[in-house]
Homo-oligomer: 271 residues x 2
Amino acid sequence: MTTQTIFEQIQLKKSFLCLGLDPDLEKIPAHIISSSEDPIYDFCKSIVDEVQHLCVAVKINTAFFEAYGPKGFASIDRLVRYIKRHYPDLFTIADAKRGDIGNTSLRYAKAFFEAMPFDAITIAPYMGKDSVEPFLTYKDKHAILLALTSNAGAENFQLQTINNEELYKQVLKQSQHWKNASQLMYVVGATKAEHLAEIRKLVPESFLLVPGVGAQGGSLEDVYAHGANENVGLLVNSSRGILYADSGEGYVEAAFEAATMLQEKMKKLLS
Amino acid sequence: MTTQTIFEQIQLKKSFLCLGLDPDLEKIPAHIISSSEDPIYDFCKSIVDEVQHLCVAVKINTAFFEAYGPKGFASIDRLVRYIKRHYPDLFTIADAKRGDIGNTSLRYAKAFFEAMPFDAITIAPYMGKDSVEPFLTYKDKHAILLALTSNAGAENFQLQTINNEELYKQVLKQSQHWKNASQLMYVVGATKAEHLAEIRKLVPESFLLVPGVGAQGGSLEDVYAHGANENVGLLVNSSRGILYADSGEGYVEAAFEAATMLQEKMKKLLS
């Protein structure tokens, strides 16, 4: 999917919401666990069906599936195929934080872009250029580089000064010169909204994937004010706030309400 | 598995060899492809059976399995269980380069340490302390942090200067203060043997996982001279040099010979 298509979807749906799927058997409603053979798939599918018209992207957090072993990994594949078949306009992100030497990154690209039909994958940049470029050789597919994350550990390395500026800025700047850099996007935590304006200057054209709005405390208005560009250029993720808005039989209605509240805020910001 | 057990195995087998499993359907002998329902599993199993007594560790490169989708991921699980069942003294490493916010890293730890019986997993350190510590809460399990890798992209960030020293040294130093740091090991590329002596000073007790000997050009003698500590403290990996020593029906014998050559060199260094 091209970034132009994502922009068109944002305009059409008046939303730049990304639905984050982090299924957890300890939080999924009991009636699904007891009646389903693949509860993490059925739970996620029911949420997607309910809110797909309110969001432009879906982010599958691979860890929450892999935690259940091969069966969980199979659910990733089943879920992304379901989404692509039923809602081909949704931008599908594997939040997988992969990245390795070139020859190995190429295999991760095959996994997520060929064996499975994802549009994008999140990548840790620590191993540098040749660990990222294999993901950018696929037409209309995207690598979403970790730049500045919203966790406490961002202080350890990302915010340390390297050549007179923070490491995460080096990641943003250097990566803009890599091959097919127009297919790069960046992860930027919303709890660091004060950094967003600076980030936007360094990567004026790129889409930013912003987790951490809502439960983790970031403000949607701040993110939009500092992070939006001419094509919006933002995908703001919400996971737990939608998935677990209610823990009982009314969970889909509660998810719908939570997603609607976010989409209405976004609609206001976009107008 | 404790590092003491690894050391005892090194003494017993007179080897600090780690067998790297990077199965590639384009390189696996044709007769396996045509006769097996799970050729990447059968290929890896046959190599492990042949060389298990010559090595102390096995490293499964998850990318080469995930490239084949859910079926490939299931082969990881099948393979590590086979190894644990038949060769419980082998130290099993998931070369998976995971790492995310704490809550998500915890799920990757569950995937590799509970759903699957790995002893260790490789981790990218970009997200800092709280992305790594969840892996260290498992008794006798290990997180192997990327420090200095052997690819060209190591220049982009790892070798850049941060607080007057290279980023990879910051990773080594800071991580030594994290909770349960005694369960940390580090990935250090053998092509950077000149850095090994400095690394050994910073992490005197830790095991180092060293890829890049052989095909990628590092010298085993240099690695040992600069990297060994009192408990050896080295796991030197060879993947392609063993797996694809021969592409035909004689591949297991060729793998045996390639592994034997490395083990004999190691035996000499250890004596």
